[in-house]
Symmetry: C2
Subunit: 422 residues, 2 copies
């Protein structure tokens, strides 16, 4: 029987972790299509590593080839994601024993974890279980994060699309502001994602070049927010150009270390932010008296599959494919990373990098990417960023004017174990 | 000489007014291309009616055919817009005399004013000047507003594109929230434009159908905000579906008539709003304890030419063309309006409607478009809205990954008069 033959060679478990992106499902498509080509059945964990701990597994073999292909243009996380970080083996051995129990019960031989820094850490810990717990499991990390802050890889799948969304939206809204500035809004502020690294804010800089082109001011978390210098530049820009577009990272902080936006903390203990834009707007209104508008696209920016970068969508698919190739080749504790071999023409390839070089590290914007006054990007930043937003990869649209995003059946695998109580 | 011949027949003056849209320049393309076909030279007023009062005119004959064609896919207002309402003839005769003086000096025989309710009022006043001031001027209003609140016309150019943006963004962000809800955001709130009419909020309803599909709650300015009913529905939705998407119009008010978002007033005396979403989010957090995110796309929604509705882009072009046809046929004080002749298949045509039926009126959402509980749209609303977001009309993209939006030369016409001092 077919299923018998398959079971004998084991299954591959794929899980999505952390904040999802416009193209994480393209990675899922790369994983599942490649595994299918090798006749390896794929289970997906429901809601990331939590699905594995809870034995909530999804049988992707129940999905049609067309549905899996449609993942390539569907945003969000098709199997659910989670914000949950495994403790160390010493601190919570029971969780790891549970995972091995699940893997054994379902003959999981390969585990692919698709996420950012924290997920690379989880993947690294699981990759070390084989020896520690005498079960043959290979674990591959698969890169994903709109924050673009993973080490080693030249860029992160998910970032190019939010970068393109941010650059295009900044350009479009600035055309709007330019037409209205005579009698209406003079200062427009967009707040973008990026807790500790200003990659997304920097990408807005691709919208224009030269001192009079929008965005006129970019506020990076890598630079202390200097109120006086900011206001002086807003004023000078409005007086010279007639209006001013500001792009602010959510993570900007004043000299005393306080975030401009107050916030709570997420499951990883990260501050959860939002709301620097209205603070800046109030400042502009109070100190300069200019009429303002502000925007905070929030999830709209990272889910905007309709405006995905083709470079990004291609890379997202490729890392999924490579991760399966690595796993089936017997590799362990690695991640496929993007290596840039040329800026112009832009060329890239994939390589396997050890997870311990990536887990828990965070890549900041290089100093040389931020202009001397701290409010813009340099030519070096443009050279780096520009290829990442190139090309369009629009989803197919239906007759009703909406993209044809797929909803998988997500058939649950029958549980074999008792519930896990932590 | 060519210019002599042209002068003899007079010029057409085109001006953009009020908040701009993703497709108002498509109307400009319709105007200029049609006038060129009739060998009528077009001047554009810089920043709407103010440009006419200040004699700041732009000679569009200096633009190439390619540049004018590119207007069809460029957002914002290519000639600048303004928020400025002419007083009545009795209240400020000097302004009207100035306009006639400008028209006479530049041989303007046709004036096309592209805007919303207030602009239709300005157009109507100018159309009455011919008799009052003994100068042969024909004035045509051209419809434009993302608010979709003009009377007579079935819909307004500009609305279909912001409707499509809102429906697609709601769909995409909801896929994101659905994947994260287990350990992260459970309630996502998007605030959309719409001061007094909930047309844009209603369009978000096209993202899904049925009680479990996003958006689960739409808050209309046509309904008093009922905190208890809202919270009860959020709670029931999270408990049933696992998460909840809320789309809120900026104009929602509580029973005492207060806007949820505090605000200032614009030049027309309208309240300028923004910030209902964070108020709702704080409410959800405080009363229900759910983790939330909120988005406020602001200008991004009305300038998103990259996601324009083809229906809308086509209608925007068509009203520009029709306005020139009406003007050259000697009509006065009318506006080309969209008449829907069939829902399925969707069919429409243009007709000339008298400006006095449109000026200063405001069309609200019909009661029958809002579901009985006040939190959703009806089948009748879907029938009306659905055709308006149909079809895609993406701009061409350049090699750098950005849309190829045109920047006109905007060559100023030499002034012939002394400055006007009001």
């Amino acid at each position: 029987m077919k299923s018998k033959t398959r079971s004998a060679t084991g299954r591959l478990l794929y899980a999505q972790s952390g904040g999802v992106t416009a193209v994480i499902n393209a990675t899922a498509a790369g994983v599942i299509q490649t595994a299918r080509a090798h006749r390896v059945p794929v289970y997906a964990a429901h809601n990331g590593i939590l699905g594995a701990l809870r034995e909530e597994l999804i049988d992707t073999t129940k999905e049609t080839a067309a549905a899996i292909a449609a993942l390539r243009h569907t945003p969000g996380g098709a199997f659910g994601s989670c914000r949950y970080k495994l403790k160390s083996l010493d601190a919570n051995r029971a969780e790891y024993e549970r995972l091995i129990e699940i893997f054994r019960a379902h003959e999981i031989r390969w585990f692919l974890y698709n996420g950012g820094n924290d997920s690379a850490d989880t993947a690294l810990k699981i990759s070390q279980l084989g020896q520690a717990m005498d079960y043959d499991i290979r674990c591959i990390g698969v890169p994903k994060t709109v924050d673009n802050d993973l080490m080693v890889t030249d860029c992160c799948p998910g970032f190019g699309s939010v970068a393109k969304y941010t650059a295009v939206s900044t350009l479009e809204a600035s055309l709007d502001v330019a037409s209205m500035a005579d009698t209406s809004t003079k200062v427009f502020i967009v707040e973008v994602m990026g807790r500790h690294a200003g990659w997304i804010a920097a990408a807005a800089g691709l919208a224009g070049e030269g001192p009079d082109a929008a965005p006129h001011i970019i506020l990076f978390p890598e630079r202390v927010f200097d109120e006086a210098a900011f206001l002086a530049k807003v004023k000078a820009t409005v007086e010279r150009v007639g209006w001013c577009t500001v792009v602010a990272s959510e993570g900007i902080r004043s000299a005393d270390g306080q975030f401009l936006a107050a916030g709570s903390t997420d499951a990883f203990g990260h501050a959860q932010l939002g709301g620097a834009a209205p603070v800046l707007a109030a400042l502009v209104k109070e100190k300069l008296g200019y009429k303002y508008h502000w925007a905070l696209p929030d999830y709209l920016q990272r889910s905007a599959r309709h405006l995905a970068s083709k470079t990004d969508a291609d890379q997202a698919y490729a890392v999924g494919k490579a991760a399966v190739d690595y796993a089936l080749a017997g590799m362990n504790a690695v991640m496929p990373v993007i290596v840039r071999t040329s800026d112009a023409p832009y060329r890239w390839k994939l390589e396997a990098a050890p997870l311990d070089k990536i887990a828990n590290h965070e890549k900041k914007m290089p100093d040389k990417f931020i202009s001397r006054d701290g409010f813009g990007i340099t030519a070096a930043a443009r050279r780096y960023l520009s290829p990442l937003i190139r090309g369009e990869a629009p989803p197919p649209y239906g007759r009703e004017g909406l993209p044809k995003y797929v909803q998988l059946k997500n058939v649950a695998v029958t549980k074999k174990l008792l519930a896990f109580v932590r």
